[in-house]
Symmetry: C2
Subunit: 358 residues, 2 copies
Amino acid sequence: MPETAPHTTALDITGWTCPAPLRDRPRVVMGHGGGGALSAELVQHLFAPAFGGEVLAQLGDSAAVTLGGVRLAFSTDSYVVRPLFFPGGGIGDLAVNGTVNDLAMSGARAAYLSCGFILEEGVEMSVVARVAEALGAAARAAGVEVATGDTKVVEAGHGDGVYINTAGIGLIPAGVDLRPQRVVPGDVVIVSGEIGLHGVAILSVRDGLEFGVDIESDCAALGGLVQAMLAVTPDLHVLRDPTRGGLAASLNEIAAASGTGVVIQEGRVPVPAAVGNACAILGLDPLYVANEGKLVAFVPREHADAVLDAMRAHPLGRHAAVIGEAVADHPGMVVARTGLGGTRVVDLPIGEQLPRIC
Amino acid sequence: MPETAPHTTALDITGWTCPAPLRDRPRVVMGHGGGGALSAELVQHLFAPAFGGEVLAQLGDSAAVTLGGVRLAFSTDSYVVRPLFFPGGGIGDLAVNGTVNDLAMSGARAAYLSCGFILEEGVEMSVVARVAEALGAAARAAGVEVATGDTKVVEAGHGDGVYINTAGIGLIPAGVDLRPQRVVPGDVVIVSGEIGLHGVAILSVRDGLEFGVDIESDCAALGGLVQAMLAVTPDLHVLRDPTRGGLAASLNEIAAASGTGVVIQEGRVPVPAAVGNACAILGLDPLYVANEGKLVAFVPREHADAVLDAMRAHPLGRHAAVIGEAVADHPGMVVARTGLGGTRVVDLPIGEQLPRIC
């Protein structure tokens, strides 16, 4: 065989100049996957310019695309949660509900999912089976079909049991146009229920950190709740599910993309006592803790009462509450009015309080 | 906080009975990701029953689904190739072309991709950037838009630099119905070019195994070639891209699903000398080595000449060749006529010759 040097034909990775916002970190850190400012930098300064395209630049939970004259929502998430099973769920149902919820935030009812497994050599087949069964059960419960899949196996020490990617597609109903650019001052901010349950449930079973707490993850599919809200009016402005980075990250993303300010009344945000206690002990702020079965909605003021009533009539919205409003002041910034009458800025988190919660 | 035991609410993974075909291997082995018999067992006996659904049961390279009255192809693959860059490509372009090709095997032109990165803590940002740039360039070349994405980060020692999942959607043209069940005895088997290039290119740069070989991966997007073939007639019967498990795996999948036999003339299969030499030295059979820019087509006999001409007129089909036919004999089995007039059975591979080639 000829003695060529095959590496010379590989991509040349010398001479690349790191974009300024990423320059302080020449290597990937955990926070780049945290859904906060580091994640946003990576997407805005590295992935989006490299990929190009107008749809990605929308940077929503899911993309709205048109294909064959039909408006579709299209979304993906990889799931690397540890441990694989936790109070209230596991990676299998999380992989369904997370992607179903991203589609629901476009107003779409999820129709089909793809499912890619990256398995680590040596993981017990019974673990894979229980993950798959939970995934299938969650898909049936959400009314979505797993249409296509893929399995890869990596050597022991190059994975962590089971990683899952799901992508999903669903139809966006006519007249529904959910995006932060539609938010205007005066919009009412509604959260669908108690926050912080998923993150604290995961944390309670983390290696080396186990603590007893009487709560479970809120992991659930929100498609039905969103349909109930849209039945009141298709004219909701924007929906987000506050996963990584919690409610604080979602509100900041909406404020930044809409160019409005957001004010929340801290005392109106539903925080279960167990979450509040756990956060106090661990030094966490519940606003930054992940949820997997909640949404935050920006609703035109004239529809707010009716939408809230519809949410409270749905099992997944029983504890829905108005927590604030969009304002013309401090565009792009989120502030919280505290119980004592003070005000604090609710920043986009830098990295993440809890790695690998989804 | 109450002293409950949170683990009791997690999924119970005791008492699970392994389906018989999987029973010999209570843990996942590398071969479960190899695209051969072990992969098929995992899908048929574990994933498919757990997920349910009729579409997944088609088990093609991509699923054909109907949404809003429109026929779509939907497919996903995760990419865990090592090394990340290899002669002729890298994980970024592979992640585009692999999924574009899966869609093309349904006759669909890929329209939108999702892209999920699982990054390992500590990987150089420049590596991520070059992967992303190659991914973006490949998407533009293939005429597909990256519409939505996700990034997760796992701790060092739980990944391998960069893993990527892509899912894709595209329109299936009217009148096109590509699936193995349409194969009938007499169909002509055409391969689009020289086989084995991708697998040997990867192997040539594997840690501890480097050898000089004057070939590059054939990694390429086949959408244009497929459109050229469909322009001759929409009545092609089935297309597959022979990736993991090589041409042997694709032919076996088609034979099994169609219930016909397949006969190939071994001497007509285009094997480049460099691939043949490398395989001889390493004890590999080129029929089992992965490709990333080739397809195999089962074409009605009356259209075979015209389809072959159209393929040869396309840059990615210049070396297209008729290699065999579907037969009524030995249903479900693939046999090769050797140069000496003998016959050998071409089995579905059990696991894989080369782990992590895509």
